[in-house]
Symmetry: C2
């Protein structure tokens, strides 16, 4: 009994010591407060990358996957990509007179976001399909970059690309320094993310897994074009995440981070492999510095995945208490 | 006139000299005979990776894509993956008594490969779908590795993984040494290639783009499984290659190598970008050491892409004359 109840304490001391040896005096996660989340991450990285460790993971298998919306950047009050789609509806309304009387477009143009929301996923898919097609992939990329450069978040009055989480930037940098390959595995669209993920996160386009629409090829007199069609090709969400990981990466991650029920299957799949594993969820608990939401949120709902995390011992990051800094601009 | 007719000669001398400076006394392509193909490759690599060169390509954009069948390994007398599928039909016949009377399976079981061939692509797709589904992705991987370990090529009496092209191994190693990322972009199945491409080619699973079947996710009581369904998801061939490159890599290659009409669009797409570009085709001209085939072949047909290559100045490798060695075992 005595041995059993003190068991955890002994392990914790052992972990702290290993962490100390591996990282010396430099804290690789300065924006993380001390606590279970930080200790578990540092311990995992140390155990899996130290030669001779029984949990050592060979470099090629060091695959780390991150959800994007709500895990790497702010997803409130609406998904950034959906804000982009809504702005495109407004910008293109003149070329689409039929939208004036056709929901969900008519709701968007009348500023009736409750009407859009009432249509549920169907309305959202229609808006995204209409605004993400009928152009080349190059033109779409330009539209994304132009919009991100000129649009501000309604509450923070900053470009969306400044609303990324500093602790996660540090975590990804630590993983890469230890020869993990970091991937995004997002329900968002690959071509909405790829134009900027390399600059903002250090994740190149070929390491971005996400949802996609059908694309067609046109030879175009030796100036080949890829054209975006208004048809969904793949939805990288929920069970789509392990499927997307298999299809695009072809290896099971050893480390995965999400924040919502859409990430549950990615974490389950990561947990299901042999050897050392890390599964983490960001819990949005800080209404002052960011937002507080979970079980009943329309965006980033964390309900079943939270129950799973508790049941299976996954790490739940409490943003308010675990993160010293949330956004990079707080450090300036 | 004089200046014009000697222009090419001067360029060639300039190129040889730049190549000499960049690679010193060590020939990075020892299995390539001197000639246009080798010179053009070395010149391209030198120009795109030397600091200050006007053709310099930043490291993240150094994307090189290679077809697999007929470009990196032998595809004759039939695609290796199809040989695998046929062996699986035979091995599984006892569990499928209905196959005895059902083409194309009945033809396979009767050894009537002409009958199979007469059914064209339809028969091939049916055989692949039936033999590549109804199991987990892990079981399929094991089946591929077992088969490759125990099966010999009918003519060379060696494992298929020994029938890879030594000059292409050297080329990929050179590109990687110069910080290119090498990808396979194949009409073959991703899960037939990924189990062995890292060991044989140095290309990790996440850099293998190919055709794929539908995969479904099963939670399986916290031991998650991915299951292969008998349904085609994506065909990475012809116009599918630039589409696959866009979807999986998200960047246009600057260097691409193929060997058949199925690679034409990948080379066009590569050629269509700005700046320095390399497009190459392997032409199978060596019936003694390998095989000789092109315009009328049922496998690896090189017809339209050849005309395009001539028209647009792509490099056509003449295996017989350009390659000193074809297979690694010739060097032992």
């Amino acid at each position: 009994m005595l041995r059993r109840s003190f068991g955890l304490g002994v392990v914790a001391v052992g972990m702290a010591s290993a962490t100390h040896v591996a990282f010396g005096q430099n804290d690789p996660l300065p924006s993380w407060n001390d606590g279970t989340a930080k200790t578990t991450i540092l311990d995992f990285v140390s155990r899996t990358t130290s030669a001779g460790s029984r949990d050592f993971v060979p470099v090629p298998e060091r695959i780390a996957t991150f959800d994007n919306d709500g895990t790497l950047w702010c997803e409130m009050p609406i998904y950034v990509q959906f804000a982009f789609a809504i702005d495109r509806v407004k910008a293109e309304a003149a070329q689409h007179p039929e939208w004036k009387d056709k929901p969900p477009f008519s709701y968007v143009l009348a500023g009736d976001m409750a009407g859009v929301a009432a249509m549920g996923e169907k309305g959202m898919v229609e808006i995204v399909a209409a605004t993400h097609s009928g152009m080349t992939v190059a033109d779409f990329e330009r539209a994304v970059l132009d919009w991100l450069a000129t649009t501000r978040h309604p509450r923070f009055k900053r470009p969306y690309t400044e609303l990324v989480y500093q602790p996660m930037l540090e975590l990804m940098a630590l993983l890469r320094a230890k020869e993990f390959k970091t991937f995004i595995v997002s329900g968002g669209g690959i071509d909405f993310m790829r134009p900027w993920t390399e600059k903002i996160y250090g994740i190149p386009p070929e390491q971005v897994v996400g949802s996609s629409g059908v694309v067609t090829y046109d030879f175009n007199n030796a100036k080949p074009l890829l054209l975006k069609e208004p048809k969904v090709d793949f939805v990288d969400d929920g069970p789509g995440k392990p499927i997307g990981i298999y299809r695009f990466i072809g290896r099971r991650p050893v480390f995965a981070f999400g924040n919502s029920d859409g990430d549950q299957q990615m974490l389950e799949y990561t947990a299901g492999g042999d050897g050392a594993r890390f599964m983490g969820l960001v819990h949005h608990t800080d209404a002052v510095r960011e937002y507080a939401y979970d079980r009943n949120s329309s965006v980033g709902r964390l309900d079943k995945a939270w129950d799973e995390a508790v049941k299976r011992g996954w790490i739940v990051v409490d943003m308010k208490n675990d993160w010293k800094v949330i956004f990079p601009f707080e450090m300036k």
